[in-house]
Assembly symmetry: C2
Homo-oligomer: 345 residues x 2
């Protein structure tokens, strides 16, 4: 049996497009958007209870400590980012603390994965490639010409996966349709497997200032009660950059493993509607608790923290009631929820 | 100058199609649906402050006494129906109390009239016909092939109006379009002018049991503090019937006056949306307080007793927030609000 994989779970991003349920005081990862468990708890659950995974490390900002401890427990290893500097430094904080030969599995904390066995199998395949020195991205099989995600273009086949030809920015509709038809493009879901030493070595090669600043921040940090607080001054000096740009597009050793695992980033209310509909909708595609009343409706979702919602004669509409806010949006409008003046409050 | 016209304002009906704002404890006439004043107050306002009208009489059920006194004052003459028996007996309660030569103007309490001078002019025309012995209905000029109202077919022209050929039940769409094209049909808005003695005489001729029961109920009633409480046993014995059937369709002396007065029965949320849009909407036909946010919307109305409403990318949708209920409906769905399981509670 191989050494266990070290999950690194990243908590970041505001989730303003899931306003009014997601708010600064109660961000998206910590909401039970699908099922009883929050997205963060589900991220922990996926890597718990098997010898495949070591105990996870969570990297998060100060604002997230309370819900992380509440939902993840006091024993969970936590690294507190002094400030947000995007994903490359966040991952490096975890990598710098692990043994060089440890394999990390970097996962967002706010996505949904419907097929957990497929996720675990892909994690093992990616870890095997990482042990051979590859920096490995999950390539999520696309099922529609999505314009909201970045894409991965696969290169030559290698044992257990593919070389990664390149990252592709969010495409327009026409290109997205061409990607889907082509078959060699997959979605970049922000899930990666790296050897910890390998990651720091690549970072040192392509972003030497970032790598040394992270090493300094960790060395000068305070560590107590399962919580590492890296040195703020060192970390703040970093110019933030995503792992995609800082490492994956620079390295000569990028690979990908294709995976089909009923994944969604739950990026907006329409994405949540689709994810919920996949697990339980009525014959008309409606999703709502029984206390709500949807009459002559198709593909309607109602979500409420209290008031009863009654909907009549509508199609493709999402209703969200939370505190002193009521949101009513079309599927297309869901993309723009984050731009509402109330969102983010 | 003629003798003044005696307004008789009828308060009845639940207004369940305006749920959740209209509820049993706070029915439609007593809500400020258009402007600062409630529909009931507007009905009083229309007949106040001129020598054309005498002080009004209000006929209502027990449940409405509190809001009537609160909104209309203690001096207002009130007749309390012991139970609901439809409009013919309700009007008779007022008629039996008035001098035989008094002319009554019977008005619902929960309609909207945008053009009050046109209403007053029609009232005077109708009263003039009533003084000649006609039983007179307002014939409201239709501006669309409405299937939700009854129609009046006009007969021969007479001085100041028309004979009333007949009442027509709510038509289907095709007939409604034919009525609109024909030009001799108008809406029955439930507004009538009668000589009080003439009304009781016609009722005695066509519904003798009803007429005598009403006379008994009034004679045996208790009258104090501007409030007449007719005898319950006598009134309960009546078989309820509308004035349309019991009197207007039976009499040989039915007439009508045509009127165009920006009338609406505010029969459902879509009707309220249209009435509000006529007095103030944005360029896209949206109607909402400034604290709400309507983004990329057309013909959307938002009404809320507290929470802020945000709507994105929708057309022809009505959102109503009241207490623990949120209603979201299409224009067509507004017809069916009264059938929701929550409506009426």
């Amino acid at each position: 049996m191989s050494d266990p994989i070290h999950p690194v779970i990243l908590c970041g991003g505001g989730g303003t497009r899931l306003w009014p349920m997601s708010r600064p005081a109660r961000p998206k990862p910590f909401l039970p958007l699908l099922g009883e468990r929050t997205l963060f708890q589900q991220a922990l659950d996926r890597v718990a209870g098997s010898s495949i995974f070591a105990p996870p490390t969570v990297v998060a900002g100060e604002a997230h400590i309370a819900p992380i401890r509440e939902q993840g427990g006091d024993a969970l290893a936590l690294i507190v980012e002094p400030c947000g500097r995007n994903t490359a430094p966040a991952i490096a904080l975890a990598a710098a603390r692990l043994p060089d030969d440890a394999v990390m599995l970097v996962c967002p904390s706010d996505h949904h994965i419907g097929d957990v066995p497929a996720f675990v199998a892909a994690a093992e395949a990616a870890a095997a490639l990482a042990r051979q020195g590859y920096l490995v991205a999950f390539g999520i099989a696309p099922d529609r010409p999505e314009t909201g995600y970045g894409y991965l273009k696969q290169g030559s086949e290698i044992a257990g996966g593919f070389e990664l030809d390149r990252f592709v920015e969010k495409p327009d509709r026409e290109r997205a349709e061409a990607f889907l038809a082509d078959g060699s493009y997959s979605w970049n879901g922000g899930i990666f497997a790296f050897g910890a030493g390998q990651y720091m070595e690549e970072l040192g090669r392509h972003r030497p200032d970032m790598a040394s600043a992270v090493r300094r921040a960790v060395a000068d940090g305070r560590d107590s009660n399962s919580t590492l607080r890296p040195d703020a001054a060192a970390f703040e000096s970093i110019v933030g950059e995503s792992v995609d740009y800082a490492v994956m597009e620079s390295t000569a050793r990028a690979a990908m493993v294709p995976v089909s695992m009923a994944w969604s980033d739950i990026g907006n209310w329409q994405a949540l509607h689709e994810a919920r509909a996949a697990t339980g909708a009525d014959a008309q595609g409606n999703v709502a608790d029984a206390r709500h009343e949807l009459s002559n409706c198709t593909n309607v979702m109602a979500v409420s923290d209290g008031p009863r919602v009654s909907v009549l004669g509508l199609e493709g509409v999402i209703v969200v009631v939370d505190g002193d806010d009521v949101l009513v949006t079309s599927a297309a409008g869901a993309q723009n929820v984050g731009k509402l003046s109330g969102a983010g409050k």
